[in-house]
């Protein structure tokens, strides 16, 4: 891979980040003439003069007393100093602190979900491909159809009600003391695993089937290649053919899906977190949205976007490293 290609991709990612930053700042402001009026509607027997004073105080307090452009410049300056802004919530905590507090809990769900989906998806996809036309393959295809029609949040509700409320095998919603009581002890880890079980199952069923389907198609495409026939003719065992030759060459589309999954790691569990009261980034975003906490909303969106941009960049770079046939940007 050439340096120029690497620099080009990085510059492109920075440009995308800048565009996201601009949109992220201005979109919440569209249609809002005076945010102060939304925070403090007229109260009491106040006169217009008194209300104007109050609105001015609110504008100054939250930095709305300057033009949108100036606000943007202040915001951009803060960002370059690593400051995502200050939330409107009582106590005015830093947005970055709130994100840092919630991010690990979202990663617990989403990373576990990704690993489970990838591992099981690869296995069942490979099996379905090798047993093409048999019951394993038919089952995967049917499951794929059902999974497309069954959104994860609906599955989450069903699992919460049946396994949580009715059978009481797992918590229907997160133990409120799980986060505050977490101390890295084995007991605390077990509590987290126990509480994360249903959210992870709800999220990973779709992922398993998605990766399974993707792997199946990729493996079938590779299985028809001549080099697989050669490998078989050489007398290699089935496992050697699958793992050393087929899967490796079928990885390209899977890595693409993986890259997309990684970029959605943080924002992909909003509704699931809400259903299970999971104190992560998704619920933080909903809280910000429901309370018109613009700095927090903007901070979360920007963080998610930055994460997605970096994940995509890394995926693109891995893409060319994984498959020597891919020579994007390189001169022959």
């Amino acid at each position: 891979m050439q340096k120029s290609y690497l620099i080009k991709r990085i510059l492109y990612a920075i440009f995308i980040f800048f565009v996201v930053m601009v949109l992220n700042f201005f979109i919440p402001r569209i249609g809002v003439d005076d945010p102060a009026e939304r925070y403090y509607p007229p109260q009491g027997n106040m006169t217009d003069v008194e209300y104007d004073i109050i609105k001015q105080v609110t504008r100054e307090q939250y930095g709305f007393d300057v033009s949108n452009l100036q606000q943007f410049l202040n915001y951009a300056k803060g960002l370059f100093q690593g400051d995502l802004g200050t939330s409107f919530r009582p106590g005015n905590p830093k947005v970055s602190d709130l994100i840092a507090e919630r991010l690990p809990w979202t990663l617990v769900l989403s990373v576990t979900n990704l690993l489970i989906s990838l591992f099981i998806g690869l296995m069942i996809g490979t099996i379905a491909a090798w047993r093409r036309g048999r019951w394993q393959d038919t089952l995967l295809l049917n499951m794929s159809t059902i999974s497309t029609a069954l959104p994860a949040f609906f599955l989450a509700l069903i699992l919460s009600f049946y396994f949580g409320f009715e059978l009481e095998l797992f918590p229907a919603y997160t133990n409120p003391n799980m986060v505050s009581g977490f101390d890295w002890s084995w007991e605390a880890v077990k509590v987290v695993m126990y509480n994360a079980a249903l959210p992870i199952i709800s999220m990973s069923i779709g992922g398993i089937i998605g990766y399974g389907q993707g792997t199946r198609n990729a493996v079938i495409a590779v299985t028809n290649e001549d080099f697989i026939l050669t490998a078989r003719a050489k007398g290699l065992s089935r496992n050697q053919v699958i793992f050393k030759h087929t899967l490796r060459n079928a990885m390209l589309p899977i890595v693409t899906s993986l890259g997309m999954s990684i970029s959605g790691l943080i924002g992909g569990a909003v509704i699931i977190e809400q259903i299970f009261n999971w104190n992560g980034m998704g619920t933080l975003f909903l809280e910000a949205n429901n309370t018109n906490d613009y700095p927090l909303m903007m901070g979360i969106m920007l963080f998610m976007s930055a994460f997605a941009i970096v994940a995509n960049l890394v995926t693109e770079l891995c893409y060319s490293l994984l498959d020597p046939r891919v020579t994007v940007g390189e001169k022959r």
């Binding site: 109260q43 106040m46 200050t86 986060v179 619920t283």
Partner: protein
């Protein structure tokens, strides 16, 4: 391969099974203590308990339990009930109470003293209870009240718009930290110099305030502002570290999270977090019950956060919580039917749903169809065709009431005027009257039976949210009977700015709540003010506006009540905000651990009276 795969699945299932052995922790079921588990459906819980900063979700409820106001307000009688303060009086310029021989406010004398006087304020004397303590053991005094009101008006220290709004009726003003006009007087803050005699042994309990010259001025000061402890906040609040500073100091943050209040409950900071809030009864709370025992009967309250209403309802049904502190749609009621230990509180509500007609759009928004609504005859025909009983039965599943066209609840017996109830009566008769009015104005109809105006079907759009589509579809059927078509149109997330404030709509649904405590503000906002107010249809009626101003400005309570009675028929006859229904407040509790839940009009079952009346079942047994 398949075998290995199945083996892996088996291993994973077993691991989940092992994890499941951790066991469920629904602690309410086995909790023998006097702890009420309250499910709260909210986006988030507050983690900071400075009452002036907590405005969202459950925060005001929590704040009102940790702190106290001077008085509480009885919506039905309009009386101020003792809390931190026990008595109050309007006083004459010498500081003497303006009261009748039997101890009530002498409104006639008040009126004669101040209505034509050049003095621009009303002086009020407040007497505090002398046995109120902060939960750190410090005595609450008049200086705490002074400090609270003073800092609320001084934006060099508080920089808090809400506090300024709540204290806007107080004639105590600052400019850049300099006191321009003093409107609060205590023993230590110039009362005697101002001519209000406070004896030394009264200095902790007596203060005077100057308020705007309207009767409603004291309401928000008495019942909205939670009093803060001066000894906690004064040392740390400075112009460089304001209350609600964007960068609070460590000490300020600590105080936000470890509140010192004087309310009936204290925060158990150690056991509270972002998803559960634990309150413990304040054993030294100064208000007692009739037997001089504890006023509040519940020792501990645990608020548990639910972000999804369905999950919260199941948590109640399965016994994870005792009560839900949120209203339930009547559509959910079948879930609770036939279940043991479930109490559904069906309290009469105060929220009146109305259909607003845009009768006076701004010039740029006028069109021939909207011009029809300027006619009071057309508006009257529409109002007569609306069948409130049908809406209550079908939209609310019976959980609601019909409403007077004066938009006043019948519960408010002191000033409800039945003469304003002009839209009741036999529906067939009303429809024929409505059709007769319209036949005279617009006799032609199209093939579908809708009336024509300038060869166009008379058709209006009703601005609403997706949740209001059912009401609007019922209105479609009802108004079809008089040949008027109405259609649903989505109002979006910022309807005020997009449609309502600039009169870019035909009709819309609007909830109104009128009570004695808010009429001064709400009547003007709904029927007088033309820009950026709740008067979306821009009603402009000089007679009505003048009567509303008279009602606001009178210093005689009886005159005020009389004017409120007089205003209701005037409002009804505008046929501007047509009542559709008043929905009940439906809330649910379990009765297997506690009995004694009290249904209070307009409130959820988690209310002050329930907390004062609940008994643990085991204790009762």
């Amino acid at each position: 391969m398949t075998k290995k795969f199945l083996f892996c699945i088996l291993i994973m299932t077993l691991s989940f099974g092992l994890v499941a052995c951790v066991g469920n922790e629904y602690e309410r079921r086995n909790d023998p203590t006097n702890t009420l588990y309250v499910g709260a459906v909210a986006a988030s819980f507050p983690t900071s308990f400075m009452p002036w900063l907590s405005r969202e979700g459950i925060a005001p409820t929590i704040a009102s339990m940790l702190y106290s106001t001077l008085f509480s307000y009885d919506e039905e009688t309009g009386d101020f009930l003792p809390s931190i303060a026990k008595e109050w009086y309007y006083v004459d310029p010498d500081g003497n109470p303006i009261i009748t021989e039997d101890g009530h406010i002498d409104y006639e004398r008040l009126e004669s003293l101040y209505s034509v006087s050049s003095q621009k304020y009303l002086p009020v004397k407040i007497v505090l209870n002398d046995d109120v303590y902060w939960n750190d053991g410090t005595k609450l005094t008049a200086e705490d009240v002074y400090y609270t009101f003073d800092i609320g008006t001084n934006n060099a220290l508080s920089n808090h718009a809400g506090a300024l709004a709540w204290t806007s009726d107080l004639q105590h003003n600052y400019s850049n930290g300099i006191l321009l006009r003093q409107g609060i007087f205590t023993y230590d803050h110039g009362a005697n110099e101002r001519g209000y005699q406070i004896l030394e042994d009264e200095k902790d309990t007596v203060l005077y305030i100057h308020v705007n010259k309207v009767l409603g001025a004291i309401t928000s000061l008495f019942t909205t502002i939670l009093i803060l402890p001066k000894h906690i906040w004064e040392p740390i609040v400075t112009p460089s570290n304001q209350l609600n500073s964007k960068e609070p100091t460590e000490e300020t943050l600590y105080q936000y999270q470890h509140p010192i209040g004087s309310g009936p409950y204290d925060l158990d900071s150690e056991h509270s977090n972002a998803q559960v809030i634990v309150l413990k009864k304040n054993e030294n709370y100064h208000l007692k019950n009739e037997q001089n025992g504890d006023l509040y009967q519940v020792d501990t309250i645990k608020f548990m956060l639910f972000q999804e209403v369905n999950v919260a309802i199941y948590a109640l049904l399965k016994g994870h919580v005792d009560i839900l502190d949120s209203t339930i749609s009547s559509n959910y009621m079948s879930l609770f039917e036939g279940r043991d230990h479930i109490y559904v509180s069906n309290a009469e509500g105060t929220f009146i749903q109305s259909l607003v007609l845009n009768l006076n759009p701004a010039t740029s928004e006028k069109n021939p169809m909207r011009d029809l609504l300027a006619s009071s005859d057309v508006r009257r025909a529409i109002a007569l065709a609306i069948d409130q009983e049908e809406l209550v039965q079908n939209v609310l599943n019976g959980a609601g009431l019909t409403v007077s066209a004066g938009l006043m609840s019948e519960n408010l017996t002191d000033f409800y005027n039945p003469d304003a109830d002009i839209l009741r009566g036999d529906l067939t008769q009303r429809l024929s009257e409505a059709n007769a009015i319209l036949d005279e104005l617009y006799p032609l109809k199209d093939a579908s039976g809708y009336r024509l105006f300038q060869d166009h079907r008379i058709s209006f759009e009703i601005l609403g949210s997706p949740g209001e589509q059912e009401v609007i579809s019922r209105l479609q059927v009802q108004l079809q009977k008089i040949g008027i078509e109405v259609k649903y149109t989505a109002k979006g997330s910022t309807p005020e700015r997009t449609f309502l404030y600039n009169s870019k709509f035909d009709m819309t649904l609007q909830g109104v709540i009128f009570s004695l405590s808010n009429l001064d503000i709400m009547y003007r906002a709904h029927f007088v003010t033309l820009s950026n107010s709740s008067n979306y249809g821009r009603l402009s009626n000089l007679t009505l506006s003048a009567r509303i101003e008279s009602m606001r400005n009178t210093l005689n309570l009886q005159t005020k009540y009389d004017l409120i009675c007089e205003l209701q028929p005037m409002i009804a006859e505008q046929y501007y905000k047509i009542p559709l229904y008043c929905s009940n407040v439906l809330t649910v509790a379990r009765t297997d651990r506690y009995t004694g839940f009290v249904t209070v009009n307009g409130q959820s079952i988690f209310n002050t009276e329930s907390l004062q009346n609940l008994t643990l079942v085991s204790e009762e047994g």
